[in-house]
């Protein structure tokens, strides 16, 4: 029994004399119409041949292969994973320091987090990439990969520390108490009982951090790095400059998306699964 316009106005009707359902219908129709208008406008206004020539001129990218994959994508992945590993370990350490009963540790950890979340990632990377070798009087251990891992890893650690801390605090206090009552030391209870549960809780934000780091690895392109150390953004911009064409950017961008889109999808799946488990 649906309300139609011919029926007398019931209590659900507004000033207009339309039921909420009818108003929704009209609103949806307007939204569709707006979409079509904008679409048609874009199709006619944009100079498509020019767009294609600028961004989709794949003749200009032939020279990029196979280095795009064998060098650039590979390096991007190496930078990301090494920085992530460092960020993970250091982030966990900083999180545990943040939760320490000693004020000194808490203060140092807080300082670390504030500094490396507050600085632009690019600046941190430049300081490590250019400044540290001078300070050390020689190359950073691990060479280019070591410097990049450290630069990006410090920033990632600051963010991950806060994620770890939230995860650890989300584990009910009774878990630690039960573990302690079984004779486990505080440290053992943390590592066998609390942290494994915290990790489960924070898998989505930790995966998201991997996506962010994967994109931030493009900052490495600002460091003057040998050809063997080139990553996706650098190879894209080098070819774009050489060919005076933007298609190499698009190709590099596609390489990022191949990785980031599935990962982002996985994050949303994990989040949905956790929401359901609650």
């Amino acid at each position: 029994m649906s309300t139609t316009a011919t029926e007398p106005a019931g209590p659900a009707r507004g000033r207009t004399g339309l039921s909420p359902r009818q108003r929704r219908k009209i609103s949806i129709a307007v939204q569709y119409a707006l979409f079509v208008v904008v679409l048609v406008a874009v199709v006619f206004i944009v100079d498509w041949p020019k767009i294609q020539d600028t961004f989709l001129d794949f003749d200009n990218t032939r020279e990029m292969y196979p280095d795009l994959f064998t060098v650039a994508l590979k390096n991007t992945i190496i930078y990301t994973l090494t920085a992530y590993a460092l960020g993970f370990a250091l982030g966990l350490l900083v999180a545990l320091m943040r939760l320490s009963s000693l004020a000194v540790y808490r203060a140092v950890a807080l300082l670390f987090v504030e500094i490396f979340r507050g600085l632009p990632a690019l600046l941190t990377l430049l300081i490590i990439g250019y400044g540290l070798p001078i300070a050390l009087g020689g190359p950073v251990p691990g060479g280019t990969v070591g410097a990049v891992a450290l630069g990006l890893g410090l920033v990632a650690a600051a963010y991950m520390a806060e994620t770890f801390r939230a995860g650890i605090q989300a584990v009910p206090k009774g878990q630690l108490e039960a573990a302690r009552s079984l004779g486990m030391s505080h440290t053992r209870a943390m590592f066998t009982i609390v942290i494994p549960q915290a990790l489960r809780i924070i898998i989505p934000p930790l995966t998201n951090e991997l996506v962010l780091l994967f994109k931030d690895s493009s900052l490495v392109s600002a460091l003057g790095i040998a050809a063997t150390g080139v990553e996706l953004t650098k190879i894209g911009s080098d070819f774009a400059i050489n060919t005076a064409d933007s298609t190499p950017f698009v190709v590099a961008g596609a390489c990022y998306l191949i990785i980031t889109v599935p990962l982002g999808f996985a994050v949303r799946r994990l989040e949905a699964r956790q929401a359901k488990a609650r």
């Binding site: 878990q175 108490e177 009982i193 494994p196």
Partner: protein, 263 residues
């Protein structure tokens, strides 16, 4: 013979809030002591001071003659002799039932895997759950979870077991299974300190019943005395409320001001 537990002049305060105000309690080997009392009287705090989950602000706690409140005590070693069962079970949700029962045996007592699993299965059988070894805690009922928690504590071969309202979070029809396990444990001679509202259990199983109110022990004696013929007005009021909750009198609400009642 040294008593299993000896508590002398125990005080505990959270900031300005004095929760325990001088508790003296001795528990002999093999005794079952039930602690009863109104909410907020400090029962959990007392129990948690016995294995130092809370740090007392004054007084001494001895377990088997060893002073737990001594500054240089190895608290992790001392806790191995004291099992604890919580109201909220506190099973480790990321571990299967069997691993819940083996993890501390392996990591703390350094028992080899095979031995730890054998002992775990023995204790799971004891609580009637040997067939649940491969389940996760979330797949069990509350009563089953609590029995696993008991098995987990027993697998460490404790000399003393602490129970903090083990059946309070359970649906009524599941309470019996847990109490049956505890009864059996008492019959086997385990020393037990049990905070509970189950007066039937206290009456049947306890050697002594301790009534606490306002951070002190008000009454301490055999169950037929403390539950059957309480001497103190506060005990009487409390028991009336617990035994016949639907007929609690208006005056009984908010035990702060207990009227003379003319009785």
């Amino acid at each position: 013979m040294t008593p299993m537990v000896e508590i002398r002049g125990l005080h505990k305060a959270y900031g300005d809030l004095k929760v325990l105000k001088g508790i003296d309690l001795t528990v002999e080997r093999g005794q079952v002591i039930c602690i009863i009392g109104p909410s907020g009287s400090g029962k959990s705090t007392l129990l948690r001071c016995v294995n130092l989950l809370e740090t007392p602000t004054g007084g001494q706690v001895f377990v088997e003659g060893e002073e737990l409140t001594h500054p240089d005590v190895d608290i992790d070693a001392a806790r191995r002799k004291v099992g604890m069962v919580f109201q909220q079970f506190n099973l480790f949700p990321h571990l299967k039932v069997l691993d819940n029962v083996t993890i501390a045996q392996r990591r703390v007592l350094k028992r080899p895997k095979g031995e730890a699993e054998r002992i775990a299965r023995e204790n799971l059988a004891k609580v009637g759950l040997e067939d649940k070894a491969d389940s996760y805690p979330a797949q069990l009922s509350g009563g089953q979870q609590q029995r696993v928690a008991i098995a987990r504590a027993l697998a460490m071969n404790p000399d003393l077991m602490l129970f903090d309202e083990p059946t309070s979070a359970l649906d009524p029809e599941l309470v019996g299974d847990v109490l049956t396990v505890m009864r059996k444990l008492a019959q086997e001679g385990m020393t037990m300190l049990v905070v509970t509202h189950e007066m039937g259990f206290a009456r049947d199983v306890a050697d002594r019943v301790v009534f606490m109110d306002g951070g002190v022990i008000v009454e301490d004696g055999p169950p037929e005395q403390v539950i059957g013929a309480p001497r103190h007005e506060r005990t009487k009021t409390f028991l009336r409320r617990v035994l016949d909750p639907t007929h609690a009198q208006e005056d009984d609400l908010d035990g702060a001001a207990l009227p003379a009642e003319g009785a």
